[in-house]
């Protein structure tokens, strides 16, 4: 069954990349311009008519977001993953909410977590999980978790903190050597 799907890609998108293939599973990668055509083809002519999930990976090193649409064919029990890379800066990805209304929820979540905009989604920008989030979207790799945690929540009081390296040194008298006392003062 999965061969038929693969065949469809070979004819319509000869430049597609095969990421992984199993007996009822196919993961392909297409360029960003062909992504929508590939999804429409999968739905209309290959029987993958259920949108299970839209997932995102922040490939900050390559300057792209990798978006993956996971489509299922319940009749044939096959799963098709279509991935495409979109430039990271001001990232825009076409919305699927006109094809699958459920896509709207996934897209709102991705907008909130990664800041990726889906033009065509009527409910974009509505609060999804993070109420009134003003910062960098938290799942972006350039989001500084530690800096945010310290700025927003601060140190929790009373907080005891012991540095193992200093603690071990103090216990064994590391700086109690003839020259060490002086050096510790310099430190």
């Amino acid at each position: 069954m999965i061969d038929k799907v693969k065949n469809g890609f070979e004819i319509r998108f000869p430049l597609y990349k095969l990421v992984r293939e199993q007996h009822n599973y196919l993961h392909v990668k297409v360029d960003m311009v062909s992504a929508m055509d590939a999804i429409v083809m999968a739905k209309t002519s290959l029987g993958h008519n259920v949108l299970q999930l839209i997932s995102t990976v922040d490939r900050i090193e390559d300057g792209v977001f990798q978006i993956t649409w996971i489509l299922e064919n319940y009749g044939a029990c096959t799963v098709l993953l279509i991935s495409a890379d979109f430039p990271r800066e001001n990232c825009l990805v076409p919305s699927l909410s006109q094809i699958w209304p459920a896509a709207s929820a996934f897209e709102r979540e991705i907008f909130e977590m990664y800041g990726i905009s889906f033009p065509g989604n009527p409910r974009e920008g509505e609060d999804f999980l993070l109420e009134s989030w003003k910062d960098t979207p938290p799942m972006r790799r350039d989001f500084e978790t530690e800096e945010y945690a310290m700025r927003v929540f601060g140190e929790r009081q009373p907080r005891e903190h012991i540095d193992p390296r200093q603690y071990v040194g103090d216990i064994v008298g590391e700086w109690n050597t003839p020259m060490g006392r002086k050096r510790k003062e310099e430190k």
């Binding site: 005891e160 193992p164 390296r165 071990v168 040194g169 050597t177």
Partner: protein, 589 residues
Amino acid sequence: MKFTDVISPFLAWSRAAKKVDTIPYPNQQNPGADRYRGFHINDTSKCIGCGRCETICENKAIDMVKVEGVDPAKGDSGLRPVVDYGRCCWCALCIDVCSTGSLAFTNSYSWVTENPDTCRYTPGVDQKPWDNQEKGFRQNNDVLGWAGSPREQMEIETPEKRIENFDEVVKGYTIDQAMEEAARCIQCGLCISACPAHMHIPDYLKAIAEGRFVDAVKLFYDNNPLPEMCGKVCTRQCETVCAMGYQGESIAIRWLKRFACEQFESLADVLALDAQPGEPNGKKVAVVGAGPSGLSAAYYLSRKGYEVHVYDRLEKGGGVSWYAIPEYRLPADGISKQMEVFEQAGVIFNYGKDVTKELLTDLENRFDAVYLAVGLQKPSDARIEGEDISEVKPAFDFLMNAPDKGQKLTGKKVIVIGGGNVAMDAARTCVRLGADVVLSYRRRIEDMPADDEEIHEAMEETIDFRPKTIPIRIERTESGIRYLYHEAKMVDNPKGGRPLPKPKDDVEHAVDADILFSAIGQTSDIEFIPESMQKGMKLKWGRIIVNESQYTGYKNFFAGGDITPGEGDAITAIADGLRAVQGIIDRLR
């Protein structure tokens, strides 16, 4: 009105008697998935308190704290992580990097508390209902490899080539390799607790990782004036407790120390003002023995402004560490390089002075304090029948006479008895001089007190290892000597400790040879100490018993190194020297 609107209420009531699909929480709870990331557990007996979990935590949810019932020990800081669930995001990085793999998640996820500030606990210490939960996310270091990593490989000469000459076996790191290796350090500081001299290991590893080699050398000299020697032949107790060693390989601390020293032709120039004599305070101290312990005491006393005179019976400083350790482990060039530093620090050396009763009496009268660091001079008796045959010699004496300089043993057959470093050195030296070597040891190979690397390298060098062999006697034959032994079986020691070797049967096995070296240790010879002094000191098994500041109890006499009971390695001797310095300063104050 539709028909369904009329019928619906009745249909709903018809379900009232059916079993419900939801779970009656909290009486019954839905278990999390097998690898669910729930609350932490920590095996506190495995945890070493290295603090990696705290360092990696982006949310600052983990703090290392002191806990009751866990005391700091060698290789364990005694600190344990406390987790704040107001901040934890269950990313599991703490578990992925845990050095020993003691930290894990359970699949328990529900905990109701009214006060958010109490939503923190120390896993493994504070009792929780999920403590014995077996399911939950666990570390998989085989996949990630974050908890431990392999060491930068050191280039080593092949066995075939190295037995042809006395060139150093280990070739040393390149700058890139050293910086890479030093960068593996996680700065937990557990190594400091294991090093007898408590060297600033994390600090100098950091300096090496950042390319600050001068700083590294200065840090060595803070509590070890023989870093190059230690960089080559130290027993490296630090590496045995390294946090990286639990699931990977420990940091090559010894090789890195050697590397930093090898970057400079003159250590005296590098140290410059950091190795000058201190402001003279008018007090004089005599140090007897120019081995690691004596040199350490001399160096720091001189830096503190004492006038220090070192006496040694040999013609050069360094003691047995330098004389008896063969060239292929510790090349002689390093000696003079390190001795320069002592001279720059103002230490006065008196070589070729036999240590006698007269000398000690003289020192007692002329100096404010005396530090005895004479080491162990007398090879132990093998207590084997026939050991007085002239071909039976102590390996220690053989090594002390620089056998690498010209001697030849080509075609000879040599037997070495013993399993310590001296035995390995003697056996490997004989192989290099062209002899066929048989090494006989009473116990198993794993019981040998020699360094693992030494044993491994010796085995590669065509030495015939005969462990579990009990010597019977040595006989003279027409062409040389014959060594007879029983094969041993190991029996449990009723007093505990290592299993004891006992003869397996009455069969006498024989090996013919030309020379036999016995290397079963050295004992002390305290005949040089006048009786009046001996009476004031506490002696046991020919060694001097000292207190924690190396004081002997007799006038202003201090002692350290192998003449006092201890580990018997160079770094322990150096540590003794450091303690003696503080003891002498306090006593002469």
